[in-house]
């Protein structure tokens, strides 16, 4: 039998645990379970018919695919930005540091309109890229751009503190032992930041999947081509098809949860030995 009443150095375990469970239930579990209840009002055939329709499947592919690409891009360049911010003394470092957070703070609609403007065929960037045969606005590529924009701070902000903690001596030790820069990066630095990088990746990924405001303006929203799942849900809601909307949402939720869970598992493995 487990003795819950055993003495702990830190007081208030019971209260803290109770509060945590209550809070999580109120904020997370109850809304999500109501989603499931609503979905349960559908028959199995209706449910399947909704979520397995070609249009919905295409939107799943697009949303998860674009979010994945955006998160990967952010992992690479976010790591680079964090590295530069931590390791180098550069003029205007504070300003750059503050810029990183901007995608957090900006209303998503503003970001969406701005991006659509920039990348459309007569926008500042779009007019130079379109002659090259690359169309960004109103294509899946544009969705990736928007998701990359809003996901960047997650990677930078999770990796930055870990890099700050990484002793310079580790690199020096590696150099003394004869490792070249690539070996030092691949075998010493990367393994140390991988857990944080995975956290940043999964946050950026999750944000990308759920992103609505900044994406719809640049997406073009053509069914089967550039229509993201959140938009599809809104469309269903506007047609008063609540059950259908929640059915799609439920599938999305399940996928997201499974993906985040597996990332957490990988992370747990990577972090096991990271403690001093």
């Amino acid at each position: 039998m487990v003795n819950i009443k055993q003495h702990r150095v830190l007081p208030g375990f019971g209260l803290a645990m109770g509060f945590t469970l209550l809070y999580l239930s109120l904020i997370v579990l109850i809304p999500l379970s109501s989603l499931l209840f609503k979905t349960a009002s559908l028959s199995w055939a209706d449910f399947w018919g909704t979520v397995a329709s070609p249009r919905v499947l295409a939107s799943f592919r697009l949303t998860f695919g674009a979010a994945l690409v955006a998160a990967l891009v952010n992992s690479v360049f976010g790591l680079l930005v964090a590295w530069v911010l931590v390791r180098y003394k550069i003029p205007g470092k504070r300003l750059i540091d503050a810029l990183v957070d901007l995608p957090f703070a900006l209303p998503t609609a503003v970001a969406g309109i701005t991006l659509a403007g920039l990348y459309s065929s007569n926008g500042w960037i779009g007019r130079f890229i379109e002659p090259l045969g690359i169309k960004i606005a109103y294509t899946p590529l544009g969705i990736m751009v928007a998701m990359t924009f809003i996901g960047l701070p997650f990677v930078v902000r999770t990796v930055q503190p870990v890099l700050e903690d990484l002793e310079k001596e580790l690199e020096e030790a590696a150099a003394c032992l004869g490792a070249n820069r690539r070996q030092t990066f691949m075998r010493i630095i990367l393994p140390a930041v991988i857990p944080a990088l995975l956290t940043g990746f999964s946050l950026a990924f999750a944000r990308g999947i759920g992103e609505y405001g900044s994406v719809i303006f640049i997406a073009g929203n053509m069914p089967m081509v550039s229509e993201i799942t959140p938009l599809l849900i809104i469309t269903k809601l506007e047609q008063y098809d609540y059950a259908g909307a929640t059915a799609i949402a439920t599938v999305m939720l399940l996928f997201s949860f499974l993906i985040l869970l597996s990332i957490n598992l990988i992370q747990w493995r990577a972090r096991r030995h990271a403690e001093r």
């Binding site: 003394c176 032992l177 030995h273 990271a274």
Partner: protein, 349 residues
């Protein structure tokens, strides 16, 4: 492999860390760089390793210039104060690291790496811990792993930056004896940095005393302890009593190296070189009053106040002598410095 340091200077901003430092480290010796913090000892070590570039001067390994050579090509083993072990690797992988990053043509095969690592694990007496992670080891064990890791590639020189600085007193004692024995076994030219004079005197073949970006004295532990070249060295290597005397006043027979002194001078006497007696045998004895006695420990320490000028003097007595005298606080006795060094006063600490 001997190390020759020639006229090395290094500044960090306006702060001078090293000022035209010259040093010869003979092949196979264990040398201690000893000095207070900020004396430039760690900077010198890091310049020898190539982790820092000097502003001027050159470093030679056995006559071969290495000043411009990259860290990874210098073949130095470096041990850091805080171990700098790779936390995500096992003890085995940490030690093997230097061998596994070698270019393919020079890299030993898996079996040879395994053999070498096992050899080193035996050397550091941690053969049963090969699969542990650094987080699962004690401080002393981690530092031994760091040492094995540095030795794995058979470096030409071994450099240790305050290797025992982060350890507690007992482990420190054990580990420095162990390092001494290890060095007697493998004879790799080694330089270690320390601010602990006891450590330097106990472990090193040769002690380099540094102060304010310069080398004050180089010598064997006996030389620097018994024949310090400057007041700084004298006071840095153990406790010291200052005897203020007028010229000609000091007892000529008691001076270790008589110096012609003009005007006021200061005599430096180690607490162990003070003799306490109940009666004045000669005119060289100073009357003093016992202020405090600390009887515990290997050498009982007596604090006295000179009656002629009020200066405080510390004396260490052998236990036997201490029991024999049976001193009491407040008692009036006579003290005589049996071994005193005089330095010219403008050169004081």
């Amino acid at each position: 492999m001997g190390i020759q340091v020639q006229k090395i200077s290094k500044k960090f901003g306006t702060y001078t860390a090293l000022d035209h430092v010259d040093l010869q480290v003979p092949s196979g010796e264990l040398v201690a760089l000893l000095g207070p913090s900020g004396s430039g000892k760690t900077t010198l070590l890091r310049i020898i390793a190539g982790l820092e570039t000097p502003d001027a001067g050159s470093i030679h390994f056995d006559g071969e210039e290495t000043t411009q050579r990259k860290v990874r090509e210098r073949q130095v083993g470096f041990v850091f104060q805080h171990y700098a072990l790779f936390r995500h690797m096992t003890v085995f992988d940490n030690i093997a690291f230097g061998l596994t990053v070698k270019p393919k043509t020079e890299r030993p095969d898996k079996a040879r790496i395994r053999r070498r690592v096992n050899e080193l694990l035996q050397l550091i007496q941690l053969d049963n811990m090969a699969n542990r992670y650094p987080a699962q080891l004690s401080g002393g064990q981690r530092q031994r792993v760091a040492l094995a890791r540095a030795l794995a590639t058979e470096p030409k020189v071994l450099l240790l930056d305050e290797p025992f600085g982060a350890l507690d007193a007992k482990v420190r004692q054990e580990l420095r004896r162990w390092l001494r024995n290890l060095h007697d076994e493998i004879h790799v030219t080694s330089v270690f940095v320390t601010h602990d004079q006891e450590e330097a005197l106990e472990v090193a073949d040769r002690v380099v005393v540094m102060n304010q970006a310069k080398i004050e004295q180089v010598g064997t532990p006996e030389q620097v302890y018994d024949h310090p070249a400057s007041p700084f060295v004298f006071s840095f290597l153990g406790h010291v009593n200052l005897f203020h005397c007028r010229s000609g006043d000091h007892p000529a027979g008691a001076i270790a190296s008589p110096t012609r002194v003009e005007g006021r001078s200061i005599g430096y006497v180690r607490p162990g070189d003070i003799r306490i007696s109940r009666s004045a045998a000669t005119s060289e004895d100073y009357p003093a009053e016992i202020v405090f006695i600390q009887g515990a420990g290997a050498l009982p320490r007596v604090e006295l106040r000179r009656l002629d000028n009020g200066e405080t003097v510390h004396a260490d007595l052998p236990r036997e002598k201490y029991r024999q005298l049976g001193l009491q606080i407040g008692e009036k006795v006579f003290i005589r410095p049996t071994n005193m060094r005089i330095f010219v006063p403008d050169y004081q600490i």
